[in-house]
Symmetry: C2
Subunit: 446 residues, 2 copies
């Protein structure tokens, strides 16, 4: 309900580098219930609250043809009644109990979470287990909720040129893989989603063996396991979703460009995204090297790009470089620059080209590498300081096919990255035929 | 079998303008059998031969997610045995009887045809009706035929940079509609097509109510109808395919570009395609206006573009403009120019931009319009001079949702086009945000 996890730079950056450091001594317990549902518990005793999340191994990239938006639409419908609570409003129950809740649909997963006082954990589990199997999807809710989603699309995408621009960039970057289709769906298809579509999707994917429970907070693994057995362990599987096979992106062979002009654009900018390996598919050290490279090149005001473009040459007011590797099948490595008002995007792009060519030629320095490593470890600690982040980071990794070990070893893997790894990863990824370059312009732009 | 109807300029041009002129006095008889199968007969008595075609209202654009290439793969399998002729090789039987046969898969349809002595028409019908319902798809044929298709893809696409480039252009032009997916399929998906996929596709779509029989040649409607009743009329429907709904292309909002560099490219060139209405979806006179406009601008050596770029300015060795409107959901209007050896594509594109801007500003002249009208009517006559073309033109139109009347009225509709129609159609279609611009380069290009 409420929001689609935006398939955007900002959201991707927030967690892509936010993996846990061993020195934190975070205990993670994993169990598998008899029905195949996975249970992950991360004790965190600072406050008497818990974060309860259920993650389904299904997202927008698993949708069928002509049904774009169904994963997100179903997420909305999950907040209606169940057989046991026909008139219930899920969020109201949580809120009456002093909690907060929300949900999000992503390309690879769909997640539901509640943050609540620890004595209400069982209540939340009962509610969440109930709607995993007993959801009622009423005809009358379909039209209403479809209108809500359509309005959401209008407000959050169609009325925002930068979001529309992003949709176009992803559509051009992925010629075949469904990551090129927006999570919220194409309007023409959202408008046609039916009750039958929602029920079929629910039955196929909302089943215990396709779900991961993550609880972080003031609890013990034993407590959570006992409650999970009681509420989730008794559920029967409604289907076997099978392996997650999406259309593979063919080998990229042509540089793509997207030039969008919209009079509502306040700040024109130039951006480029390269297809990059995801954490899940990357070879040894590749993803970590890209993480570090992105930080050295464009992570904040001490980065190379910022110092050169904003401070020294004064040709941009804002710049950035990111690596987003947490999607299952493919990641992106991106760069952007916002020129001074009235600045020419073609000229700025040429400067970016030169900047990238220089990077490929000379690589980065050991000092830069060491500094970024420190920064990223610190960021990891910072991100995991909140209970919600803990549950989020682990849930997200596990639902996307990575392991607890993979997360816990992140600091060590950062340590293992050499200057050669960085150079190799850059040479592999920063090829123009792997990329889409975008210019977002307004009616005053040249 | 044998070839995929290439989703390319050349093939599109061949028939998009090739509709029949009334003065030819071509009789077209239409019947519908009780099982819903349509029968179209076009007598043509010049030689004692017939062209027999069966068209199925299913093509690559109707494929399910992750099954790209299944329409074409099934087309291959249709040449294996049937329950009644387990070991038969369809093409060998035709060839032993002095005939020729082939088949083609398109985005919107799949067609099978035989050209043979008229006394063998019944034999051909029996064979074609047999494989419409009694096809045997053996496990042993799957792997073999999949390898054949994969090799076909390697030979005809992967080893041909211009074909690969075309794939990239269509993938960029269509952000959502399946016309952006190649007919032959993505290699990774072709490699995974199974016997079950082929059987499901066959059962769903190869059924009389989804088929159109077209017979042209030295026959009478009565003869063909009697034979059709006997051989096709007795078939039962295996499924109801339902309406043909594809993902709609959202309103185009961003100019796209594809820059592909491949050392195998002999002649670099620049091209641009605009999304244009199809004959089926166009408003009155729009498609005909685009047909005429394309001819005036770039149809041959007397066209504006040729005269300016090749003869006068000597900046190109070859140029062309085309309108392809025969696909059901969407057409394209395109332009290309091949520079002199070593010529700069950016400079050439700027000249094309200026050429298009000039066209939009001044339109074309009445003299040009009249001349092209005459040319296109003559081309229509020429195209329909062969029996195979007759069957092809009518079959193709009918299988794509157009009517016999729509075809017969083509010359009249050409006559009705005014200079204003041309101007309006140009203004509607020739917008940069509706387009993809491509540069195909080699390693010697700048």
């Amino acid at each position: 309900m409420k929001f689609v996890m935006p398939f955007l730079v900002a959201a991707s950056m927030l967690f892509s580098t936010s993996l846990i450091a061993k020195p934190l001594n975070i205990d993670v317990s994993e169990f598998t219930l008899k029905n195949g549902m996975k249970v992950v518990v991360i004790p965190a005793h600072r406050a008497p609250v818990v974060t309860h999340m259920v993650w389904y191994k299904v997202g927008a990239a698993d949708e069928e043809n002509r049904k774009s938006g169904i994963a997100h639409f179903l997420e909305h419908l999950m907040f209606k009644g169940t057989k046991n609570r026909p008139a219930a409003d899920f969020s109201k129950i949580i809120s009456r109990n002093g909690g907060q809740d929300n949900a999000f649909t992503h390309q690879d997963y769909t997640g539901y979470y509640q943050s609540i006082s620890k004595d209400r954990l069982e209540m939340v589990m009962e509610l969440e287990a109930d709607r995993m199997q007993n959801l009622i999807i009423l005809d009358k809710d379909i039209a209403t909720e479809r209108d809500v989603v359509k309005e959401e699309r209008r407000t959050r995408t169609d009325n925002k040129p930068d979001r529309l621009f992003n949709e176009q960039l992803y559509a051009a970057l992925y010629t075949a893989h469904p990551y090129g289709i927006p999570i919220i769906g194409w309007m023409s298809e959202v408008a046609k989603l039916t009750r039958a579509d929602a029920i079929a999707f629910y039955k196929k994917y909302y089943t215990p063996s396709n779900a991961i429970l993550v609880v972080a907070g003031d609890v013990t693994p034993e407590q959570v396991l006992a409650l999970a057995k009681k509420h989730y362990g008794v559920l029967k599987n409604s289907a076997t979703p099978g392996p997650r096979v999406r259309t593979q992106e063919p080998k990229p062979i042509a540089a793509r460009r997207v030039i969008m002009r919209d009079k509502r654009v306040a700040s024109p900018y130039v951006t480029r995204m390269y297809l990059a390996p995801s954490f899940l598919r990357a070879k040894k050290s590749e993803a970590e090297a890209l993480d570090l490279l992105a930080d050295v090149l464009g992570g904040g005001t001490t980065s190379r790009l910022y110092k050169q473009f904003v401070i020294k040459d004064k040709i941009a007011v804002s710049v950035g470089v990111w690596y987003s590797g947490s999607n299952m099948d493919s990641g992106t490595f991106g760069i952007y620059a916002v020129p001074l008002p009235g600045g020419d995007l073609d000229a700025l792009e040429k400067k970016l080209d030169a900047f990238i060519a220089q990077t490929l030629k000379t690589g980065i320095t050991q000092k830069e590498l060491d500094r970024s490593r420190r920064v990223m470890k610190a960021e990891t600690v910072y991100t995991l300081d909140s209970q919600a982040s803990l549950a989020n980071v682990f849930g997200r990794a596990l639902v996307g096919g990575r392991s607890v070990e993979h997360i816990l070893s992140y600091p060590d893997r950062l340590d293992a990255v050499t200057l050669d790894d960085i150079k190799n990863a850059a040479a592999k990824v920063l090829k123009i035929e792997r990329s889409v370059t975008g210019h977002l312009l307004n009616d005053k732009s040249k």
